[in-house]
Amino acid sequence: MSKYTEDDLKKELETKEYEYGFYTDIESDKLPVGLNEEIIVAISKKKEEPEWMTDWRLDAFKKWKEMKEPEWANVKYEKPDLQKISYYSAPSNKPKYNSLDEVDPELLETFKKLGISVDEQKKLAGVAVDVVIDSVSVATSFKDTLSEKGIIFCSMNEAIKKHPELIKKYIGTVIPKTDNYYAALNSAVFSDGSFCYIPKGVKCPMELSTYFRINEAGTGQFERTLVVADKGSYVSYLEGCSAPSRDENQLHAAVVELIALDDAEIKYSTVQNWFPGDSEGNGGVFNFVTKRGLCEKNAKISWTQVETGSAVTWKYPSCVLKGKNSVGEFYSIAVTNNFQQADTGTKMIHLGENTKSTIISKGISAGKSQNSYRGLVRINPRAKNSRNFSQCDSLLIGNECGAHTFPYIETKNKSAKIEHEATTSKIGEDQIFYCNQRGIDTEKAIALIVNGFSKEVLNKLPMEFAVEAQKLLEISLEGSVG
């Protein structure tokens, strides 16, 4: 048997096709391409939204028109033509399902290929899945169990109609409409998303999850998620993505807002596997996401993410630590291969006293990819005794990729303690040699090392999700070494 070297791994990774790249032929109900006020009004009408929502969208659009696409990120791409995208697409045959049997069988097939069929999920450890295919929720499960506890978990559209007071109160409070170019765009045209409200003192009995998929060619995906955890409550929210192969670039500009009121805790986990483009760098999804959480007194927000997909990723899940003793956490693995580019990281804004934040970021780059960590830790003058620990490690596989770190640390308080460290290295030959000596072949050794490298973050994922995350790591990087 010939020796398995890093070059072999590289070759294998390059030729590895996107396994989940398929396209389900469902008739879609689409709006004409382009973006103007009429389109926005049309989207709003299609969603049967109240007038205040339409005005909110139009206001965001007005502000968006004055904004420019940001260029500071360490990524290069051809800017998507936002006038060539259809801003609304929903599966057309949309009956209200009571059971899975009524669901379009083709859709079910899609889930099967993904390895996460709805019925299987239902049986699995009490995971409620709010399935979003091309922006519109078609099936929501476990609703009854949740509503008993007073938990609201539904699509954004439904929430706007049924719980306007909550939406009005919280939407756009963490991420203002004018926050950035893509957040403003999202505010204007968002198609649907999930809304979750956990009442006072309630511990959500199950992991909530939503699967996003981009299914229709040439459709921008503009999800909007809002999670509100009232005083003393707890929720763990999972989000996973997978998109079919497409040749033209698709745009995904989501907005996620988390609000943790006093003593509440939100755990938000993401496994992201948008189509990364083929080995030549053609196609792939542009992922420009704005995610931010607000912590009130004693609250905690924890972001965990596994990023394996997208041609271009641009994403900074952040925490605003407003209340005393609040805690923000960020755990991330970002894997890039072939021509992928990722510029991800986090922002920890310490406003209150005794606030703590932890950042663990692991970047793995292979092929000709570029992987950047960009983070900000800001300690405001009033944030006494705040504490931050950041660690960013990068692993390089092959000599054509790049790893970059851009940490920004701004401190205005003398009692703050901040530690930041970053390392960049490749898999050490001595490490592989050590494994070889003990009878572990190179293939397994690399797997072992990569796994060990990312373990700190993988461990933070909920059990149900960790399995899928590992699977995605295998596809995007480890190939047969996993």
């Binding site: 390089l396 770190t405 901040i418 530690e419 960049t424």
Partner: protein, 438 residues
């Protein structure tokens, strides 16, 4: 800001008329002023100037070509020199070379001034090969290039061990006017040679001074250059120091920057490693207080394999001072087996002080070891208690701990007299009367 720019642009013509328009540098100056006209002064909108605004210091009616107002004597400047060692001295007063205070040489090496190097044909080859070769072409550096006429010129030929350190000191005496100085240094160290350089800018009056200095340093094969920058100027003086270093294979460059004084100090430092097995070490101590702003902006560009770089910057920030560290390490695809280390440790001793730090790694090669560490914290309370319980007053105990914190940087200073001098300045800065001689 724009007023100053207009003034600079209009006075350029008058400045050039006095110079030899047929010379090689004339073309460079003309090109540079155009560049400056286009780029202007840097603003906070630029990523590398995000935390430092020049607005405050540019808002004065600076005189560009001061006249020497009074002759200085050695006793006036003694305090600002490392006077207890033998050394070559290149002393400038109000932008003009001051021969009676200086000690230069042409014996086997050139330790002299740029204006004579620019005007004599025997230096043409060096000027054409090295002048403005590595200096960045941004607004602020181009401005200096356009007006470059005076500064130090050091050329150490092959296989020379310079017998004593070289001190380059720029004094400003101007009694009642604000002045903008633009000194330009060119230092070429040839194969296998060794030199030690101590550099300082000092204002002797209460007037507003802005210095925009550019230094180009060329370290050829196997050369060793040890460079010290002592920045302990008056509170009304500001300094923009642009230093560019080009290293050839097996060369070793070490820089220590001691920033204690001045209102605004910006150190732009770029090291380009153009060969294999190069060592670059840059270290700094910053201790500042009221209304002071120090910004260290460093770049180490690793272009070839098997090179090392080491950065260690320590800062102590009191009152409403602002500290900035922006350290960039760039490792090119070819630069395999690079070891790059970067540390930036900061202590804030006041609630009004701010520290902004951005250690940045950009790596395109896979077989490298690069790491950076960055901390912001306070003095260890237990250590403080330990000292106080042994009868050391709080002020002294704090000073001892701070000194201990900064000492790691000092330990690599190779001239003992420089070390003693820095120790004294630190003691004064921390307001204690104890010697730190260890």
């Amino acid at each position: 800001m724009s007023q100053l720019k207009e003034k600079l642009l209009s006075s350029f013509i008058a400045f050039e008329e006095q110079k030899n328009v047929d010379s090689y540098v004339h073309g460079i100056r003309t090109k540079s002023i155009k560049k400056f006209e286009k780029e202007g002064f840097p603003t906070k909108k630029m990523e590398s100037w995000k935390y430092t605004s020049l607005k405050k210091v540019l808002d004065y009616d600076y005189k560009l070509f001061p006249t020497v107002t009074e002759a200085l004597e050695f006793k006036d400047i003694k305090d600002f020199l490392i006077d207890d060692i033998e050394s070559y001295k290149i002393i400038f007063v109000d932008g003009k070379y001051c021969s009676h205070l200086s000690e230069t040489t042409h014996d086997g090496m050139d330790i002299c001034i740029l204006s004579s190097a620019l005007s004599q044909s025997k230096y043409d080859l060096v000027i054409e090969n090295y002048f403005d070769e590595i200096a960045k072409k941004d607004g602020i550096t181009s401005l200096n290039t356009a007006f470059s006429s005076e500064g130090s010129y050091i050329h150490i030929p092959k296989n020379v061990q310079v017998d004593k350190p070289i001190q380059i000191v720029y004094f400003s005496t101007g009694k009642n006017e604000s002045v903008l100085y633009q000194p330009r240094n060119l230092i070429v160290v040839d194969e296998n040679s060794h030199v030690e350089i101590i550099e300082r800018h000092q204002s002797l009056s209460e007037n507003r001074i802005l210095v925009n200095s550019v230094s180009e340093i060329y370290c050829n094969q196997r050369s060793i250059v040890q460079h010290y920058k002592i920045q302990d100027d008056n509170r009304n003086a500001s300094l923009i120091d642009n230093t560019f270093i080009s290293q050839q294979r097996n060369s070793d460059y070490t820089l220590h920057t001691f920033s204690f004084g001045g209102e605004l100090t910006r150190n732009n430092l770029s090291i380009f490693q153009n060969g294999e097995r190069i060592e670059s070490t840059i270290k700094g101590i910053t201790i500042i207080g009221e209304n002071q702003h120090v910004d260290h902006n460093t770049l180490i560009h690793h272009k070839e394999p098997n090179c090392n770089s080491y950065q260690d910057y320590k800062g102590i920030f009191g009152e409403n001072s602002v500290g900035v560290f922006n350290g960039q390490v760039l490792v090119e695809k070819e630069a395999q087996k690079t070891n790059a280390f970067q540390a930036n440790n900061n202590i804030l001793i006041s609630d009004k002080a701010t520290i902004n730090t951005k250690p940045q790694l950009e790596i395109f090669a896979d077989d490298v070891k690069c790491s950076h560490g960055c901390t912001v914290g306070q003095l260890d309370k237990n250590a403080l208690f330990y000292l106080r319980s042994r009868g050391i007053p709080e002020k002294e105990a704090t000073a001892l701990l701070m000194f201990g914190f900064a000492n790691k940087v000092l330990s690599s200073v190779s001239i003992p007299e420089v070390k003693t001098r820095i120790n004294d300045i630190i003691a004064k800065k921390l307001g204690v009367k104890i010697g730190f001689d260890i």
